[in-house]
């Protein structure tokens, strides 16, 4: 092996040589060169994790030095956590026996697309619309542009809400899960009509009819939103948007 390495301009570190030897012993003869780096990375990370865990266990047991038992415990706990293995055979056979006893369900005719109940599907929208209520007087001359706030909705809503406590409670409920995983986007679109509505359903405001949001892109960060907003006050300084909101709060 040493002679083969002489052809490389610089010598390969010992760790890498060991890894090459391990791969050879396990019968892996053809591999890309980057595999060695990946394997070494994994090794370092794994060993570091185990040793750190073992240190924690040793200090928990008020020992001064880490010993073999700590390492063993660390390995065991990490195995159960990261490197789980599939269930044992007898468990599978038992589960299969139970499942296979039930007869196959009959198929109802003429039902359209055959999908599971909605909560098991990914077809629900993963967003909820909220409307911004503004008093007529205060927003005269102000801009109403749609704002998009991304992030955990459980935080305090940045929407200015006018007065009505019911709206507050609704906004606090936005944190409840609407659908499955993925980021939740709060789209706040001020309705062109100046009436304060307490509903946050999309049907309330015609302005949102053109919001095309692809709800099924769960887990993806790209949400296509085209809001065909007819801004009431078309001109305007976008810079002042934030200040506006603060003003609105003040007017509560």
């Amino acid at each position: 092996a040493a002679s083969a390495k002489m052809s490389a301009p610089k010598t390969i570190p010992k760790d890498a040589q060991v890894m090459i030897q391990i791969l050879k012993d396990m019968g892996v003869t053809e591999y890309e060169p980057r595999v060695i780096n990946q394997m070494l990375e994994f090794t370092y990370r794994y060993v570091t994790t185990i040793i750190e865990d073992a240190k924690i266990y040793a200090s928990h047991a008020k020992k001064s030095a880490v010993d073999a038992d700590d390492i063993k415990l660390a390995i065991q706990c990490r195995m159960d956590q990261s490197f789980t293995s599939p269930p044992p055979r007898d468990f599978l056979l038992e589960a299969a026996r139970q499942k296979n006893q039930t007869p196959l369900p009959l198929i109802k005719p003429y039902t359209g697309p055959r999908l599971p109940p909605d909560r098991y599907c990914l077809t629900a929208p993963n967003y909820r619309l909220k409307s911004i209520q503004k008093k007529v007087s205060s927003s005269a001359g102000r801009i109403s542009v749609p704002r998009l706030s991304v992030g955990a909705v459980s935080s305090r809503p940045t929407t200015p809400t006018l007065g009505t406590p019911s709206v507050q409670s609704v906004s606090s409920k936005v944190g409840t899960p609407v659908s499955l995983t993925g980021q939740r986007f709060t789209v706040q679109i001020p309705p062109p009509s100046q009436t304060a509505t307490t509903k946050t359903t999309t049907a309330a405001s015609p302005a949102v009819s053109n919001v095309l949001i692809n709800p099924s892109l769960i887990g993806s960060k790209n949400i296509l939103i085209t809001t065909n907003m007819v801004a009431q006050n078309a001109g305007g300084d976008g810079l002042k948007r934030k200040l506006e909101d603060d003003d609105d709060y003040d007017t509560l």
């Binding site: 195995m79 198929i107 077809t123 892109l217």
Partner: protein, 745 residues
Amino acid sequence: MAAVQGSIVDAKDEADIKTEPATDGFGNNHANDAGVLSASPGSSAAAGNNKPAAGAPEDQQTLLAVLQFLRKNKLSESAEILRREAGLPEEALDPKGADSAGSGLGSGADVDGGDASALLSRVTVSAPGGAKAPTKAGEDQPDVNVVLSAYSQQGDPALYEVYYSGLKKFIESVLDCHRAELSQVFYPLFVHMYLELVYNNHEGEAKAFFEKFSGDQECYYEEDLRILSSLTKKEHMRGNETLLDFRTSKFVLRISRDSYQLLKRHLQERQNNQIWNIIQEHLYIDIFDGMPRSKSQIDAMSGSLAGEAKREANKAKVYYGLLKEPEIELPLDDEDEEAENEEGKPKKKKPKKDSTGSKSKKQDPNAPSQTRIPLPELKDSDKLDKIMYMKESTKRIRLGPDNLPSICFYTFLNAYQGLTAVDVTDDSSLIAGGFADSTVRVWSVTPKKLRKVKTAADLNLIDKESDDVLERIMDDKTASESKCLYGHSGPVYGISFSPDRNYLLSCSEDGTVRLWSLLTFTCLVGYKGHNYPVWDTQFSPYGYYFISGGHDRVARLWATDHHQPLRIFAGHLADVTCTRFHPNANYVATGSSDRTIRLWDVLTGNCVRIFTGHKGPIHALAFSPNGKFLASGATDGRVLLWDIGHGLMVGELKGHTECIYSLRFSRDGEILGSGSMDNTVRLWDATKAFDDLETDDFTAATGHIHLQDNSQELLLGTYMTKSTPVVHLHFTRRNLLLAAGAYNP
């Protein structure tokens, strides 16, 4: 000769201890001197109490074993009662002594083991060789056996090598005709002995044992042995489910009666029953009457992780026939199909009946009934599809050895070795690829572009009554050559189009199977059940059902409208790597890393066939269009052909040098195409391969298969690609062969 365990003697109340001189005088009856016990030296030999001596019945032995067990656990009252009722003599037997002959093992370390093995050996060897089948003893002893020797130490680890070499020497000395069969014992015995040593923490001896004997094993077990070599401690065994299953399941061997008698006699004559114990506990010997099999016959069938298949495993009736196609009237057409016209008069406008469906009105006895499993009813769109299908099939080219199909290869460029799965719709209009970056892409093969359905607002505006409503619902603004589907969080290992081209399934390393709509190109459902990578998935030929198989060693049957699986097919020892539906949707074939193929019944979930013979994990399966045969391809580069009805291997096609990843029969079953990692597509003559099997005279009883070595004759052509491994094969409805792969320079 047996050593005395002082501690046990002290514990016992009985004063009289029988002495059984373990001399050859009793050798025949007990067949081992490890059998018994002698008391402390100097105790009188109660000659009159040689009860097991003169041909004592087996029951006596069992009773004694039970009695000893009770005593060992200090259940003295029960022991007394048993002894009284069974009429056993007063003297107790103190089983002590090491297992092996002449080893004088009486070390304290093996106390329990010594007990166990002594009892075992006594109970096991009940009769002179041949007079009684020792297997009967084996059946009597399981209760005691199980309790006393749960894979615990059975003998001195240092002697394992001695036992194994002894057996080797014996087998080398038998007649040639028996040697091949008896050599089957080597591999499972080797593995179990090694595992036992590892399990009982004898690392050094295990390593030495491994080094000495691993080279003798058959070459096709090389992969397993390499995995074993890295397993040196008991903790290593914990996470390895496959090996744990191997330990607990029985390795099946099929040996003719004569060979078996030889082996049994030899093991019982010898003084160590260690090997016999292992054989009884971990091996299942399926005995058949008849000629011993030759080496080549054995090699053809062996290679799997569980040995071969028991005869009973392949006896269930399988309905391999096809379901009757519904009668559909073809619409009047003005094309020049005079030849098909029943009246023979050209241009006579007469509705044609379904000419490709089954003509016979009576039920095929080998076909399942239409209602055996519930199937979705045919919608109007399905009927239209069927009509198209029949029209296309009239234009189908008949293939044969002198009429080979043209092959059109779809190369995926710039896939950066990430192409992991491909599927083509039945009418060859769409092609989809699953990639290692967790995306799925769908392309249109025809010039017609892919379009999404319009939004709800726009759909309100269209005229629902017009004839081409299905065209109007499509939004032309979204037309594109290909569409990309995002959603998985791991490489996509399997994809499958639904027969009605509305849905696409994909399964991935993230453990989920996703259903995508091909109208909106969005994900509809994620089926979670496997918590481990799912290696393959497929829609049933009639839609609605689909199967998936993964790393958790089971295959699951799902329906699109149930979020949990309907059936779980458990039984494989290692990952399920390939899952395929039978053309009649009543059966599912699964190929696995344990090198077996199993056929499962959808109705009951039972395994109805086990096919062994591959020497590597199976990656490709294909059913013949008539439903009678199954072709399988594995990493060993061979394609094996199986007769489903009889459960036998009927052909072996050698030629590929690397793993075979795709297999497909032509539309009428005349040609089998195989694509492999060695960058070739090979065409084989399927009609000829199955030709002389139409007769029904198989000797299924013995499993003697006579495979002709006619791979060369059956090979019709080898077509090389330019460094592109072939991942998928598909015969169009007119028998043009499409192949797909990613360019891999």
